[in-house]
């Protein structure tokens, strides 16, 4: 009797960002190779994973990556939706699935969202900021688009290790915070190094006619931090958690305004 079905090989990849391994299953070897390339430096051989996603690839059909993100929680299950993907994740079982076309951007968005949800419960967050390690300490450079995140990253001296030029990964640990490298890139399109260090300072970027660091009032620091946090979920408990996390952060980490002209001497003030 002829076989009615054939086994489909399931391919696996573990992507570890911020110390959190996420296993991805796919049946498409080309998609697997795409992910291995996209997350080079963040792919591990670890058997352990905090979350496992099955990726179901769909044919291209006018998906809109610019559509608004919707993240909702119902009966222990998160639903993540955008024009180009739909995903579900159940924290209790540590499993989920992603339905998307074969592109690296959709799963990148899913990973960012999932990390924000996990971090929010732990007092951490993803922040619109560049970050780098110098002399064993991590420095965050926050600002909206055009504020100078890419510029300050590009000007970093050889002894600075770039963690990201776009989205910083901040985890609360004991009485302080740790910044991790991320593969989430901005204009520099260069992956951060997969390393971490204690956060020594947060600088709010401003372009000016001289290089200088100015203190800012705590209230402005908290408002600016909140304005630069990545958070998508329509969930009251997590919104409250992330709000209080921002205040905790500014009470423990010095926050200043870094005004700079676009030249490398600004790094003389840092580290």
């Amino acid at each position: 009797m002829p076989e009615l079905a054939t086994d489909v090989e399931r391919l696996t990849l573990v992507i570890e960002i911020g110390g959190m391994p996420v296993r991805v299953h796919t049946t498409d070897p080309r998609f697997l190779a795409m992910l291995q390339d996209r997350y080079a430096g963040f792919v591990t051989s670890s058997e352990h994973a905090e979350i496992t996603f099955d990726v179901d690839l769909t044919p291209p059909q006018g998906a809109d990556p610019d559509a608004p993100v919707r993240v909702t929680h119902h009966k222990g299950r998160w639903t993540l939706e955008r024009g180009d993907f739909r995903a579900e994740w159940e924290p209790a079982s540590r499993t989920g699935w992603i339905r998307q076309t074969a592109n690296p951007y959709s799963i990148d968005a899913v990973l960012r969202i999932v990390h924000t949800l996990v971090l929010a419960r732990q007092g951490g967050f993803l922040l619109h900021s560049a970050s780098a390690i110098r002399n064993g300490k991590a420095f965050l450079f926050a600002g909206v688009s055009e504020a100078g995140k890419t510029t300050i990253s590009r000007l970093a001296p050889p002894d600075a290790t770039l963690l990201t030029d776009e989205i910083s990964y901040v985890r609360k640990q004991d009485s302080g915070y740790i910044a991790f490298g991320t593969p989430f890139t901005g204009e520099l399109a260069k992956l951060g190094e997969n390393v971490s260090a204690p956060v020594a300072a947060l600088y709010l970027l401003a372009k000016g006619k001289e290089n200088r660091i100015d203190p800012i009032p705590p209230g402005e620091a908290a408002r600016s931090l909140l304005a630069n946090l990545l958070f998508f979920a329509e969930d009251e408990d997590l919104v409250q958690a992330i709000f209080h996390s921002a205040f905790e952060f500014v009470s423990r980490v010095p926050v200043s305004r870094l005004t700079f002209v676009p030249d490398a001497r600004v790094w003389e003030l840092i580290g």
């Binding site: 009032p217 705590p218 209230g219 908290a222 408002r223 909140l226 304005a227 946090l229 958070f231 009251e236 408990d237 919104v239 409250q240 709000f243 209080h244 205040f247 500014v250």
Partner: protein, 115 residues
């Protein structure tokens, strides 16, 4: 003349930092920074102290303004805070929420300083 009572919305997140009161709506993540008068109203909004007493004891002495004018301004401000779902206002004392009855906040449009 009816009296106005105010209670804090338990579903907003609030923090005071260096004298500034900041409040975030849990529903849509809108961030509000309260001015001094709004902060006084927020702090005094226990659901049982009428607005005119709050004005008499907390606002008039601090701002050196006439009681009638202060009350009118405070009532306008209280209604604005209620429109943002920061406060609940009522002409009756507002008792603590009864989880069995499932008392809930009326939904209104929310605008203002956002993050």
């Amino acid at each position: 003349m009816s009296r106005l009572y105010m209670a804090r919305n338990p579903r907003v997140a609030a923090r005071s930092l260096d004298g500034e009161m900041m409040i975030m709506s849990s529903r849509d993540s809108t961030l509000f920074t309260l001015n001094r008068t709004a902060t006084i109203l927020w702090q005094a909004a226990d659901g049982t102290t009428p607005l005119d007493e709050i004005v008499e004891h907390r606002i008039v002495p601090e701002f050196e303004v006439g009681p009638a004018e202060a009350l009118q301004d405070a009532e306008t401000l209280a209604r604005e805070l209620a429109s943002h779902e920061i406060l609940q206002i009522s002409e009756q004392p507002i008792l603590p929420r009864n989880p069995v009855a499932g008392e809930s906040w009326a939904k209104g449009s929310t605008t203002g300083e956002s993050r």
